[in-house]
């Protein structure tokens, strides 16, 4: 018979079990249990936790320079939403004619045998896009500006309108928005500077006016925002992560299609939530009111980067889709712009412009106050008053290849990403090294063909690490 010698005595073993049990009991006793919405709104889970290496800047002062005296309200009507589709510039024509060839060249860098998307890839993107930009308002004869107006107001139910402190309100809206499918929310106070971001005339030909009225309204020629609607709610949505990493293939672009399918639904639900609280929540379209990037940048959603159109988030990289804007009279606590080292990293990196974009639509040089594109490739509208990078909208085919290339996209299962992110935010000394390691480690674009082999596709295609905060 063998004799087993243990280094732990029976007494110590039982003591250990007892201590463990006490620990589990204490943890259970301190676990929060919510009894009502007040408790949810004030719970730490509903507040916005940022990584420690993300710092805040002052309102109106993001990591790019802005000269507010130069910023003017833009007339959207002479501009094309997707200029490259109709542009007669030689480079735009060339990009249109050779689109498939350029996309194939890019994908062949990760899969030399890839010849194009097959029938299931195309079917997937088509299905994802079948109800993208769905107009919930049209069948109800309503507009995105005023909303569906379907839910009862508090008065309809004999209730008092919701009142809360601005910070509490923002947390509450965040909780609701996350339930509806938004990734995060932020807010801006519509002061004299932020008003300059609003288009003077929208794509529908209507002006945007601010008036001293109680309720928002619109006519054939104007969209009127009451002055009391002093807050701009900004919210974003995350694209399916593995699909984003396979853009610009058609299957990869299902990521964009999925986001544009969810965004209109979230718009409607947020508007109706505001109505149910007793407030106005105006604007339900992705192109409404003001350009997306500045609103997201100024409210701390992310930083302006070299790829210009997509804002880059410290948490989600360039995987976010839609920096959506809604004007409201629900008091919200404004969120500040951030500094996470992203804009500074872009100065050194350049991967999206040098390797990512198949159409040479991204600028290679430094940030500037004006467009640096040559005359023959000059962009349609150069918004004044900010120092940054300008996308060439004639060359950009909206293929989203830049999004797949961004080093900030890591889903952070490996700790190394957190170490790199924290380091680059603290010092730029290693930025060049980190950018070069991106290629050495074969990060970035993935083979489109491998998406169908993923064993446990996450819900909505969003990596579980991106669903938590």
């Amino acid at each position: 018979m063998s004799k087993f010698h243990s280094t732990v005595s029976r007494r110590d073993f039982m003591k250990g079990i007892g201590l463990m049990g006490a620990g589990v009991g204490a943890a259970a006793a301190t676990t929060p249990v919510f009894h009502d919405l007040d408790e949810v709104a004030s719970a730490t889970g509903a507040t916005w936790d940022r990584p420690w290496w993300v710092s805040e800047k002052d309102h109106g002062d993001p990591t790019i320079e802005i000269d507010w005296t130069e910023v003017v309200r833009a007339d959207w009507t002479p501009l094309h939403r997707f200029p490259y589709r109709s542009s007669q510039k030689p480079t735009a024509i060339y990009n249109r004619e050779h689109y498939d060839e350029f996309v194939k060249d890019r994908i062949n860098e990760v899969n030399p045998d890839w010849t194009g998307d097959d029938v299931r890839d195309i079917a997937l993107n088509s299905a994802c896009g079948a109800i993208r930009f769905y107009n919930y308002y049209g069948p109800a004869n309503k507009t995105s500006f005023l909303g569906l107006q379907k839910v009862d107001t508090p008065e309809d139910n004999g209730l008092t309108k919701w009142t809360g402190e601005p910070e509490e309100n923002l947390r509450m809206v965040r909780s609701a928005a996350r339930l509806f499918g938004a990734m995060d929310v932020a807010a801006l106070e519509i002061d004299a500077n932020i008003k300059k971001l609003f288009f003077s005339i929208q794509t529908n030909g209507k002006t945007i006016e601010f008036e001293e009225v109680d309720q928002a309204y619109e006519t054939d020629t104007k969209t009127v925002i009451p002055n009391k609607c002093k807050w701009l709610l900004v919210w974003t949505e995350v694209q399916p992560t593995e699909l984003t990493m396979r853009e610009p293939s058609e299957i990869g672009r299902s990521a964009t299609s999925m986001s544009y399918t969810r965004i209109p639904q979230i718009f409607v639900q947020l508007q109706e939530f505001g109505r149910g609280l007793g407030y106005q929540m105006l604007g339900g379209g992705t192109g409404d009111f003001a350009p997306a990037n500045p609103c997201g940048n100024l409210s701390g959603m992310g930083e302006h980067g070299r790829m210009c159109f997509p804002l880059i988030s410290p948490e989600f990289g360039s995987m976010i889709r839609g920096m959506n804007r809604m004007v409201t009279d629900l008091p919200l606590s404004p969120t500040k712009p951030i500094n996470a080292g992203i804009n500074r990293f872009c100065k050194t990196c350049g991967i999206c412009a040098e390797e990512g974009c198949p159409f040479d639509a991204l600028p290679l040089g430094d940030q500037d106050w004006v467009s640096q594109w040559p005359e023959e490739d000059q962009i349609e509208y150069d918004a004044p008053g900010w120092k940054g990078w300008r996308l060439n909208t004639h060359k950009c085919t909206n293929c989203a290849a830049c999004q797949a290339a961004c080093p900030f996209n890591a889903t952070k299962h490996a700790w190394l990403h957190d170490i790199v992110l924290a380091t680059q935010s603290t010092t730029s000394l290693f930025n060049g090294f980190f950018a070069s390691m991106e290629g050495a480690f074969s990060y970035g674009l993935k083979d489109p063909k491998t998406w169908w082999d993923i064993k446990n596709p996450p819900l909505y295609g969003i990596d579980p690490n991106f669903q938590q905060r």
């Binding site: 280094t7 593995e242 890591a410 889903t411 299962h413 490996a414 700790w415 190394l416 050495a440 480690f441 074969s442 990060y443 993935k446 491998t450 993923i454």
Partner: protein, 90 residues
């Protein structure tokens, strides 16, 4: 899963240190340093490998395993060998 692995690692390291003290195996301060650095690098190597596999970046996983794991192995073996030598000398 991560928490469970941390528990297992913590218990394993604790057991190793207890065994060393019981066997009166004393390390010099630089051997402690090498051992700790080697252990940390090994944890980073293994975590990076499995994390990269979860991210579906196998090349990054294998490269990271080599970059962190080889120095970790060297340091840990060195620590063991140096400790064994002065243990047998005493």
């Amino acid at each position: 899963m991560g928490l469970f692995m941390s528990f297992v690692l913590g218990i394993a390291v604790g057991a190793l240190i207890l065994w060393m003290f019981k066997g009166k195996i004393m390390l010099k301060w630089y051997e402690w340093l090498m051992g700790i650095v080697g252990f940390v690098l090994m944890v980073i190597a293994v975590q990076h490998f499995f994390g990269s596999m979860d991210e579906l970046y196998p090349t990054a996983g294998w490269l990271g395993l080599a970059i962190f794991g080889i120095p970790a192995l060297v340091l840990l073996v060195l620590t063991w060998q140096m400790a064994a030598r002065h243990q047998s000398a005493s």
